[in-house]
Amino acid sequence: MNENREFDMLENADDKNVELLANVPVLTRKEKERMLKMSKSKLDKMNRESNTEEQVSGVEQYKRPKWYAFASIAACIVLVGGIVGTAFLMHRNGQAPDIDPMSEVTEPSTESSTEVADFNKNGNERHFEEIEELFSKVNEFTFMFSGGGVEVDEGNNIHYDFKGENDETKDVRYVLVTDERFSTIEEVKEYIKQYIADPMFTSEYNSFFVDSWSPAVFKEFDGKLYFLEKDDAEKKAYKIKCGSQLTEEDLAVFLNLDSDSSLSGVEDEKLSFSIPAKIDDSFCRISGILVHEENRNKLSEYSIEFYPNGESADAHPYSVRAILDNITEFDAISSGAGVYGDTSSIKEINIDDITYRYYRVTDDRFSSLSEVKSYLRESFTDSFLSQNDYLWDGYSKFAEFEGVLYFNEAQRGGRYTFTGEPSVISETDTEVTIGVDSTLPGGEVESLEIICVLEDDKWKVDSINTVANTNAEPGVDYVSATNDALHTFFELENVVFGSALEVDGNDKVTVNDSEYARVTSDRFSTVDEITGYIREKCCDKMLDRYLDTDSGAGARFIEREGKLYAKIIPTDDRLVDGAVSNYTRLDETDNSFTIRVIPPHRDTYEIYVRLDEGEWKLSGTTL
């Protein structure tokens, strides 16, 4: 209360002087936010009380936005939809529904139907507005953890040595946070927890506060809060649009898709919702749960189901966003960052004096090796998966011990970080090529072409190829050349020493005590074709490596009766993984460079690349 009595005379001022006093900047952003929040929560209370009165008087006082209008209709059919949905699912699973749908529909559970009905009258609008607000917060957090949206003092920064995978040290620059919303890590967490319930906070956001395979986004140094700001945050952070952020055109599309909103559950305890939404330009449905904590509803979980691009009438529509999300998920699974496991349940195996630690997988998506494969086969072709069979072959990522699924605990960064808007380069009824940029671990941007094919009525990723970087600075495009070289290297290693070519295990011949299986792949049908391909891609010592008659292609492939046969070799003898995410480029000159590969469990090795008659070719390796 007032201690400065001298200025009491300014109290009870007339309108003119009050206006003058109103021009004095006095409220901080934090105070304004606090008061606005308080106002809205008071308004909610008033609306609730008023709606109760409305029920008595039957007078509708305020208009609903169009979206909420069909949202409410949808809520009415939730219960029935649930039962029909269950019956439908059972039917799909090949079991005849063991209920009489009519009797269920006409005699629904009284308790549930009352709850649903009450929502419609008492404030679906409020809950849908809450959901919209929560997703605007989710967007805010996504942006924040992508490296943007936090007020900082650019001039006040600290360099931090981040120890990444393989104990490599990276210099990371943190800038001082001047944001009014928070000044400690605890305050950032509290800020998020105002909107996000605990289990989701732990699973989705907690990792951003600790160093893992990437540095923590927030850090405290000398009691001050610092932020890892990134220039491309805006590009990287996706945005979820729902409710009033959807345009009339969007709503028309959702109506076409027959996509309504629904809400069910127990008010002030737990509500399930399902709403139409857009992520960037992709149409989707978001389903989730709100829980009531600390006098407000918080987001406890949500999942996204994408609708196909274009018209729902298409025979086999596809969603670019869903395809990219599948790749991101694959990346997360193959890197280890996206597999849920019990790190206290460890198995150790020793191969060649190296101890590999595997932790028990507790992921809902799969509990056995075959389930991992089935899961990935939903979105990736067999050809793509055979290129990436390091997941389950050799020193694999996944392994089963006594029927229990384990995952190799070493984690590495993801390979793909999509940036910018993807585009459809070409499409036919059965094949789509998507172009998108991706930021490499070192910060460089590569352009990718993702080829998807229609298989079993599903669009699956068949290959991901790096294309020439047209935005590159004039001069040597080392980024594209490096990616091409790595791609060629892994392909050749797998053709010559691995299992890149499909074989027919039933058509075998034995030569000098070695077994050979007939190659069924369309790519090569003679030894000459393979060696021709090697010559096209390699020079110098690399030619020796792959054409060696004792160990290279000369020893691996033979022809019998006009057919190509490949020597059967144990998968453990494979020398390299199918892909790496951690590599650096050294010794760049106009006509040569070196790629240093740092694989997760092996010694670092190098690949030499040289310009030969205008083409970049592999010229050697330290392997």
Binding site: L10, K32, M38, K40, P65
Partner: protein, 188 residues
């Protein structure tokens, strides 16, 4: 913000309309409430009253109205009415009427002290004009520190200055103000 603008925004998104209305008028409403409750309320009470006012406006404003003028008049009226109510309930809760509240009630109740009220207003106008004569940022600092009771740290943050600089400027400006007011016959 005009009534039409608010209604149009409300039709698109009530939440956005609330945000925009609050952003446009929160300083104004805060100034009204602070001016009425400064002597009897804590900062929390004042914030509570401001949020009550906005909740009233969000709830009560007819979004189907075709009022095209500035909403400031309406908002000012709701704010003053709410602030006076808060003044009554706070003084009743505190179990006493301060000298200011007596003065206030006397002013409202009888209208007999019109001359005294006129003198107060005259003095107030002089004070405000003398503060304004200090120039920026000193006039703002004086209002923030001695009228709005903000700490030097808070003022420093609002004005992007160092707290020590605010303290120094505030002390010097107050000294200067006192002299200038004394010359006009007012002792602070």
């Amino acid at each position: 913000m005009t009534g039409n603008e608010y209604c149009a925004l409300h039709r698109k998104s009530p939440d956005k309309a609330y945000d925009a209305l609050f952003e446009s008028y929160c300083d104004y409403v805060y100034a009204i409430v602070f001016n009425k409750l400064r002597s009897v309320a804590s900062r929390e009470d004042i914030e509570e009253c401001v949020s009550d006012i906005f909740a009233d406006i969000f709830f009560g404003y007819d979004v189907n109205s075709d009022f095209a003028g500035d909403m400031k008049g309406y908002i000012g009226t709701v704010a003053k009415r709410r602030a006076i109510n808060a003044f009554h309930s706070l003084t009743a809760r505190n179990g006493h009427f301060s000298g200011d509240s007596d003065e206030y009630l006397a002013g409202v109740g009888s209208g007999s002290d019109i001359e005294a009220e006129h003198d107060t207003e005259e003095t107030r106008n002089i004070l405000i004009s003398k503060i304004n004569e200090l120039g920026e940022p000193d006039s703002t600092i004086i209002f923030q520190k001695y009228y709005y009771e903000r700490s030097s740290g808070e003022i420093a943050e609002l004005l992007s200055m160092k707290a020590s600089a605010v303290r120094m400027r505030a002390a010097r400006a107050l000294e200067k103000l006192k002299k200038s007011l004394a010359a006009a016959g007012i002792i602070l």
